[in-house]
Symmetry: C2
Subunit: 590 residues, 2 copies
């Protein structure tokens, strides 16, 4: 080893030891005849000291070292005169006797500090320098720790980690696959898995009983802010279980992770139906760190001559506790907020419940004080509260009010990153109508698609409605939601060939398509398939949640940008004609 | 849960308990008025018993159950009359009171037994049934255990598991990449990593100090028996180390694995130079479970009128202890063996050192007894030994004799699968001349290629020969070899831009090609790169070694066949025109 110790471990108890350290120059200071250098490695920072009186040449050499030079130094541990209590090594320093420059460094394009001056693009391009920053490295250390603790927990519960293949078959089910041309099977393609779904189900058919994998998955979608073309899942499946067994097992996992990694005791996770989540939060992943539930007002507000409410199919509001003193300007901001195109409301109605007990609204022309009091009662509002109301088409209005609710939660300081509110959302619909999702292949638009995936079991009591009213069939499907983020989701699976075939039929597959793409799974169901179910956690998102960040990118060592490009290695890129020819493909791009 | 216990856990101490089990019918037997069913799950087998006297209808129902039906049964644990000491649950059985068929099963295409009647192709196609067999499942349980213990060891040594990207840039370096067309960056392609080599080096530049990953890698090569297009590596890298530090660390890993997983203490691993491995074993991955070293005979055998030896550039032999009594037929078999095209020798010369002290050879016409005695001395042969000699061009003859040595080792019972001989082979050549390796792109033939990879550091004392005599430059590269299998390999890396550029130049890259493909790495070396090195273990092969098998396929849940095809899901396959169009590619296959 080019060191006897790391830069994070020397203490007062090591005084007078002869040691060797290696690391990077974090910074250096010249003070009179002395030079101080902070030497950094992954484990910490240790101060080196050079003194002209001890060794003039060595001190001169030290003065020529710039930031990020790589050094190997030998010297003696001595006690510092002015101790730095903020640094675990801050009570000692190294009186250097030998100095070797292992490598020099040009000036980095941004500062290697917690608060850097580098912009996003620059830091992506020089990711190997960005990763030197404490904050970024700590994110990846957290990720490592979460992976270890996940494995510990699942191993203790008899789960086997099994690697499923990466080169599989394209079965787009609507979302786009990345594909890989095969050289040995010309004209044919592998696909990269969007999830190991069918393989983990086959492992259950194989009797593996409990499976997990921390595994890369791939989805060729138009990237939104918080998506990556390759992402990591904690993927799990269990046999001989009912829904509650899975919820219990993975509630156990999340409690274990919070306890081991953050020292936090999470209380029992409440269950909320999808229907309630939509009714009270307008959102299937409600942020339950705060209440501010939706109140539907149709009965109360219609027929009083206010055309906006009269013409709307849905009038719904929230009550922001203690926000009655919002100024006109603040309310205007909220109105602007809901009118932004991505939110799409046409306006905002408000009613202040003043401290003096009076209520003033933006629609006083149509509603008298008595009527407004009824509103207040509906919201359980008290003096000092602010009622905010949107109106329009139901689904759109729910979505807009959900955004406004989150905005008010943020403004009122109700979304503390260090507070965690976890729950299960259950009883999702089995299907949803796909009108125009551009992340699905065009041929999948204008038809029913699986809300979770085509292998999800409908609730037995709803199977009768599969033909007559597919939109109302509920699934044995569940999501774990923490602080308004969907952290994981799963379902009880179909394990019967006929029901699976019926499901593919409903999704618009011909018998031949279903057999060609998923015949292997349906065949497997004929050889003794056990009842089974599972779920997958989004590991990148779980890491960012634990790290208190909104961006998964901060928790991925080498992320891609919003165009799916790795800025550092400059991928994707053109490949040679020799490669294309061997793969029997040509590019249609000129 | 659809059970209170697994089929592997009930014991005498559970007598009289009311329990519920779920599992598969392994087999059933009707004996007079009783029916016995072996119920199987991952954890074991428990005997169920039905009796007409207890419940006639239930017994009749039990008689209709076929193999592989999935059952849920409730009943009472009772003591067996005739106990089965070979089964941990063999002292009890279940007096069944309730029986539910969770799923039925058609007859499997082969028997679900340790010794199955299913052929390879059939078992690949129905892999989910093959995985039900004890032997196959145990292989994957072993794999899980090895992964867990690998992580435990590396975690205890401060290694961080960091996930590197799967969608990277094509930098073929000779071997073929799998590529992935990009939809969002038309005309461009990602590649799947042959290894995370450059990323782990960048993590060292980033100061991560110790990295590992159990990671899928991909190589589009013409598949040989023991290769898979996707395979798993234990990939590791360390900073501020010299070669010996890496050898020590990973000798520690392999000892840990043998101890924890097999209960075996492995002695300190000897080091053998590549030159010695070739000289004494004709092979850079010598099976050192037995000696039988090569002895070179040029000086001893030339000039005696035997044209085969006189015309050969290289005459070399081995001494098979105690094989002097080999019959003519056995020796003919060996001659046939070395003359097989894949071995390619033209013939085999032998000399028997008989028990009576006489020596008889197949070339007595040219060599008298006195000369043959000198041969025997050269081999340290004793009465009872058999000397086997090959002659020809050096490299080819070494290779052929190495095969013969392994064959003799097998025939003499010297290659016990339960005995492990581990060593490091060190001082590999930096480069090798690639004449005609069809696993490399054509443009890489007829030139020097890196023996390990282009990032491997030459030995400092050999750098002077890089231009004058590249074939003689040794690298700081090493392989771990166990029982004649290369289990892992690695090197100390270049961490200096100029030397790396010189290396690319030597490998026939233009400056522009080097910059385009590896500019990100060479640039990174300018910002303070630490000395670093690492290695990767072939995890599939490690598992097969621990499992005592020659085939890695037995240790992969869903392997591909020799044409790179997944027989179960039938991949690769054609994709839709819609997909091709979106990816801006066309297939040139009609």
């Amino acid at each position: 080893m080019l060191r006897t110790h790391t830069c994070g471990e020397l203490r007062l108890s090591d005084i007078n030891k002869e040691i060797t350290l290696s690391g990077w120059v974090q910074k250096s200071r010249d003070l009179g005849g002395m030079t101080f250098i902070d030497l950094r490695d992954r484990y910490g920072i240790t101060q080196l000291v050079f003194n002209e009186d001890w060794d003039k040449a060595l001190c001169a050499k030290a003065r020529q070292l710039s930031r990020e030079f790589v050094l190997q130094v030998t010297g003696t541990v001595i006690e510092r005169e002015s101790k730095n209590k903020n640094n675990p090594t801050g009570e000692i320093e190294i009186k250097v006797t030998q100095l070797k420059v292992l490598n020099d460094a040009v000036t980095p394009p941004f500062t290697i500090e917690d608060d850097t001056d580098g912009g996003d693009e620059l830091r992506m391009k020089y990711r190997y320098l960005d990763l030197r920053r404490n904050t970024v490295r700590k994110n990846l250390e957290l990720r490592h720790r979460l992976a270890i603790e996940t494995r510990n927990y699942l191993d203790s519960k008899n789960f086997l980690e099994v690697e499923t293949p990466v080169l599989i078959k394209s079965t787009p089910e609507g979302a786009r696959d990345f594909v890989v041309p095969s050289r040995m099977n010309q004209g044919e393609f592998y696909a990269l898995p969007q999830s190991p779904q069918t393989f983990k189900q086959l492992l259950m058919v194989a009797g593996f009983d409990r499976y997990y994998q921390i595994v890369k998955c791939f989805r060729d979608e138009d990237l939104r802010a918080d998506r990556q073309p390759e992402f990591t899942q904690i993927d799990c499946e269990m046999s001989f279980v009912e829904q509650q067994d899975i919820l219990d097992t993975f509630e156990g996992l999340i409690k274990h992770l919070f306890k081991k990694v953050k020292g936090i005791d999470i209380p029992h996770l409440p269950h909320m139906t999808y229907a309630d989540a939509m009714k009270y939060y307008g959102n299937d992943k409600p942020d339950t760190r705060f209440e501010m539930k939706f109140v539907e007002l149709n009965d109360l507000v219609k027929g009083k001559g206010f055309p906006v409410f009269d013409n709307a199919t849905f009038v719904v509001g929230i009550c922001a506790k203690g926000a009655a003193d919002y100024t006109r300007k603040q309310i205007d901001e909220l109105t602007e907020f809901v009118k932004r195109p991505q939110i799409g409301a046409t306006g905002l109605v408000y009613a202040r419940y003043n401290a003096d007990g009076t209520i003033k609204s933006s629609v006083d022309k149509f509603y008298n004080e008595e009527e407004l009091k009824k509103w207040a009662t509906a919201f359980n509002a008290e003096a000092g509260d602010l009622i905010l109301i949107l109106a329009g088409e139901k689904e759109k209005t729910q979505k807009a009010l959900s955004e406004l609710r989150l905005e008010m939660g943020s403004r009122l300081g109700l979304r503390d990153k260090n507070k965690y509110s976890c729950l299960w959302v259950v009883d999702f619909p089995l299907l949803e109508w796909n009108e125009n999702d551009t992340n699905l292949l065009e041929s999948y638009r204008g038809r029913w698609v699986a809300k979770h995936h085509p292998f999800t079991s409908p609730k037995p009591e709803d199977i009768g409605k599969l033909k007559s009213n597919p939109g109302e069939v509920r699934a044995n499907a569940y999501d774990m939601v923490i602080n308004g983020v969907e952290i994981g989701g799963g379902s009880i699976r179909i394990y019967n060939r006929e029901l699976q075939a019926q499901m593919f039929d409903l999704l618009g597959f011909t018998k031949e398509e279903a057999q060609e793409q998923f015949g292997f799974l349906m065949n497997a169901f004929e050889y003794g398939a056990p009842p089974h179910g599972g779920l997958a956690f989004g590991f990148d998102r779980l890491c960012s949640l634990f790290g208190g960040s909104d961006s998964i990118r901060d928790f991925i060592a080498f992320p891609k940008n919003n165009s799916g490009r790795d800025m550092m290695i400059d991928a994707p890129s053109a490949i040679s004609d020799e490669q294309l020819k061997e793969l029997s493909i040509t590019s249609t791009v000129k």
